[in-house]
Amino acid sequence: MTTLTVPARPEDDTSPPPVPWRRMAWVTWRQHRFTLAAVAVFLGALAVGLWLAGLKTHHVYAALVAACHPASAACAGMSTTFIGTNGFLSNGFILQAVPVLIGAFAGAPVLAREMETGTFRYAWTQGFGRWRWTLAKLAPLAVAVAAAAGALSVLLSWYYQPYFATGNQAASFSELTPFFPGVFDLHGITFAAWTLTAFAIGALAGMLIRRVVPAIAATIAAYAGLAFAAGGFLRQHYLTPRVTSNPNVPGSAWIISQWWTKGGRFAFAGWPPDRLLQQFCPQGPQAGVGPDGEPKTVSIAECLTPHGYTQWTSYQPASRFWPFQWIEGGWLLALSVLLIAATIWLVRRRAA
């Protein structure tokens, strides 16, 4: 049988050195530059909007502080103005969508698009190797996305700073504290951490679901579940809450729960039952007119305490803000690493 014999090749090795990691830098950039540009544009537009809104907020707040320093009649009106400025941003919930949007739209298509279009049959049969290719894509994108989010959170901190000034609560300027669920993860390091986690969820969802649009949807759903769980249940327990019977809990603290005891035994939690209110606070929270002619507010505590009721508050003091940031940032980072590792593991073992 005549067959072609092969001319001897100069390099006939069976254990080739791996293709260097840095070669993937151009690959990742070229394939995802649209995504990176979209994230940049999105965050840039957001930043510009926040900057403009923030200037207005700062201006109004400065005027407010100047006007109310010697307490005056103009104060109450200006404080209403301040609270109403950029009201849709004031509780921060709308900005909660930013990490998940970035993470879902940046993270999910990385692998899902390869699987959906079949290009993985090209990418995974090149010399670079499939799991290295995956890592060399996910890691730089994750860092870029988290860094961009981190930059925005600096701006967000600046934006919300007037709301958190000391004494705001006492002067009824705002009820927003650093721990407020809508804003806790907008400043500090958790904004970047949540964005990173959303990206990692997106990457894993993309590899599991293998279709871009369903993966994006799944990422948003999973993220929402996690965010609600963290904000609603987990976060308050990072450190054991302080409990005090002192009714003068600092306004900047994060009140977790309040309850009343009488004579050492639990009476009720939260708002008093109606019969007690009728019994002890017949005129409601307001009773009469104060010395300056303004209606005087009498708090529930002032009504009930003389009758033997003690109010207990469990709270997290404002000083714990940063420790909580580190704790939350820490477990989010660990979770992200785990999710990305799981994604790579799936890539390694997945059959065509």
């Binding site: 049988m1 005549t2 072609l4 001319p7």
Partner: protein, 167 residues
């Protein structure tokens, strides 16, 4: 082994002053004749008609493959076949060249053969065979003749396309 050299010969680009081959192969995929045999026949046919003379170069394997999209091993097989018949020979670094012509039969012999053939044709026609019948009978007898004679020597290219295995 010859084949290794042959490949490197055929891959080498023609040097300055090296002409291409005078002939070009074609392929009839519907004919049922194995590809390598078609190439062999075309070379033999070209030799008979004078397109190829001793010293001429056969097309390079690469060129044949590129124009006909056939397996290179097929071309090699055809060239080896021609070489074993003594019709061609490979020159190192240059290619495959024609080295002999097909055995010529003297003109008087050809004339005599043709006359006896015409007689046979008349007899067949008289017996009632039509053209296709004549061809079928002739082909079958031709094949039997060469099978009985063995598979060596020249003139093996029977129209039925016997593919004897080449080791």
């Amino acid at each position: 082994m010859d084949i290794d050299k042959e490949i490197s010969d055929q891959v080498a680009r023609p040097g300055p002053g090296g002409p291409g081959s005078p002939i070009e192969f074609r392929l009839d995929s519907a004919s049922g004749v194995p590809t390598y045999l078609q190439l062999v026949h075309q070379v033999e046919h070209a030799l008979r008609l004078g397109y190829l003379k001793p010293g001429d170069q056969l097309p390079k394997v690469r060129d044949v493959v590129a124009s006909l999209a056939i397996n290179p091993n097929t071309v090699l097989k055809a060239y080896k076949d021609l070489e074993s018949k003594g019709l061609t020979a490979g020159r190192p670094g240059q290619g495959t060249f024609v080295q002999a012509t097909l055995s010529q039969v003297a003109l008087p012999e050809l004339t005599a053969l043709r006359r006896s053939l015409s007689g046979w044709l008349a007899a067949a026609d008289g017996a009632g065979l039509d053209e296709n019948g004549i061809v079928a009978l002739f082909t079958s007898a031709l094949r039997d003749f060469y099978e009985r004679r063995g598979g060596s020597g020249d003139g093996r290219g029977a129209a039925g396309g016997e593919a004897k295995g080449v080791a």
